[in-house]
Symmetry: C2
Subunit: 372 residues, 2 copies
Amino acid sequence: MSVLPLRDFYCVIPAGGVGSRLWPLSRADAPKFLHDLTGSGSTLLRATWNRLSPLAGPQRVMVVTGRAHRAAVESQIPALADANVVLESEPRDSTAAIGLAAAILERREPGVIIGSFAADHVIGSEPLFRAAVIEAVSAARAGYITTIGIQPTEPAVGFGYIHVGEQLDIESARSAKRVTSFVEKPDLETATGYLSSGDYLWNASMFIAKASVLLEAIGKSEPKLLAGLLELAEAWDDPAARGPAVDRIWPTLKKVAIDYSVAEPAAAAGKLAVVPGHFAWDDVGDFASLAKLNSGGRASDLAILGENARVLSDASSGIVVSQTNRVISLIGIQNVVIVDTPDALLVTTSENAQRVKAVVEALRLTGSTEVL
Amino acid sequence: MSVLPLRDFYCVIPAGGVGSRLWPLSRADAPKFLHDLTGSGSTLLRATWNRLSPLAGPQRVMVVTGRAHRAAVESQIPALADANVVLESEPRDSTAAIGLAAAILERREPGVIIGSFAADHVIGSEPLFRAAVIEAVSAARAGYITTIGIQPTEPAVGFGYIHVGEQLDIESARSAKRVTSFVEKPDLETATGYLSSGDYLWNASMFIAKASVLLEAIGKSEPKLLAGLLELAEAWDDPAARGPAVDRIWPTLKKVAIDYSVAEPAAAAGKLAVVPGHFAWDDVGDFASLAKLNSGGRASDLAILGENARVLSDASSGIVVSQTNRVISLIGIQNVVIVDTPDALLVTTSENAQRVKAVVEALRLTGSTEVL
């Protein structure tokens, strides 16, 4: 058993995505990671910090977020050191966010291993999560870019998958295997095949690697992006230089997900390892997922979220999210999704949960941006 | 063709029912008759007054309503004379309401014919409505208690029916027939039979009779109730006597619908006439009815009610009633009913529209009376 915190290890939390499929709960100014979606009493960001800080140490967790969220992030994590807050002037996708953190940390502490974990996922057993991270850090120390893949429990069509290959022989990472490929969200038939084959894990966007190895991988696929990130990192810890460098360089960085810039090419080159995670995991991608998460696992319960919720219902499935103190009466609709906020109301069903993103697009197009 | 206004004729508008099936649009303090449910720009009460005042004359329309609604009623009908406002201290059902009006008017003007028309129904063609009332008044003048029955256009299960018998021979009321019986709301099979037989009309709760004949009929079935009404009427126009009489007598009056106290016994005795009405009519009993009324008759349109409604929807049926300026987004639910008010939200479907009353009962039982 490793001693915690892990040596040479730094956690990075990219806290960026709005979570359009969770509108009108998630908004530009109140993104998914700032909500308590499980009734735990903690926001997803705070729960992520609680989970990661014992692994790396509370002084060794970096958050990359938008300028608009600085105050909210610092209020959620009072222990967060100033040097561990990286503010984006605008979103440039995950390669820029994680790559900048890697470049800054590699300059500060050459040889550091970083682990990037989303700010807005829900994880079950923390001991099992820790065990997986500990193995992944060992694999990273051995030179691999390592991901943690989640053992599927159902043929989910809302997640990407990792195709698992041969066993690797890495000391202290006995369950690590080589990744053959990353696969986009499949249809139900394909997902069912993945589940029964036993060769596929869910992609939870967790990446653990030496910062230098990650940067090298970015440089291979996106050399201009890497050059920008290194230039930014060089200026970062100089108070006079940082601002001008951000203004000049950040807006020019290519927007590309780290799955495409790093994970897929590394998998193709046989350089990507995966450690299976046996803990419950959910990216809470939409209200169907949120309903399931909050009905105690029972498909036959209506989930109700909201401290002051006053719901009168005959529904035995679905979810009501109440951010007002209005009386909500619901008759005769199964799998219903009702999200009641002061300025916007969503009514749909679990089956249509993925289509919420289209509503957000439509509201943007019609100029109703004040509710987004 | 008769000359309007009709001589000896007085209209009575009982404005009482809350319309529980239209909650949370209809409330105790904002009952159905105070809403514009058709987008006409007029409340149902005002539209009723507009329809009736040319028939009887604007000084000859009496409104019977609850004390709480006095200001709203007078604001809706500024031309309403004080003497034509009859205030109930508490609801005692339609026999008391209409009977009191009849007793007051018979004292003021012996031999008067009264016509009672609900404050919260929707009527199509006014010329056809007027033609039916004119015939009904002639039948009333001939001594009949007369109702106007609506020619059914579909096998509705939400209305009561009138079984029509032999042709009557009344001058100036050539289409008047004898009523064989009143029938409660039927099931679909029965309603379909009624429609194809051609012998049934919808009961629209319109009653036209000499006040004296109506009072005599009340006295036959409910002698104590009649005695109370006559005593009240005697005191009514004496400012010093009215208040004490109301306080003493009104709470003791039996609660009974005029359909039971007058119409059914009169039909059984062969003394009830019916004039068929060929105009469109709806009692707007629930949100399914309201949806139909507001979708231009097309079942394939989502009806939207509310001046400031901001609805984004893919639904092609149902109704959204918006009393807030919130953005309402609706995905993938057909025949949906959404009623969005500042303190209460209802979400259901047209199929469940009749069950809204049960929600109101449940809210009362659970003490949420502030939203009723």
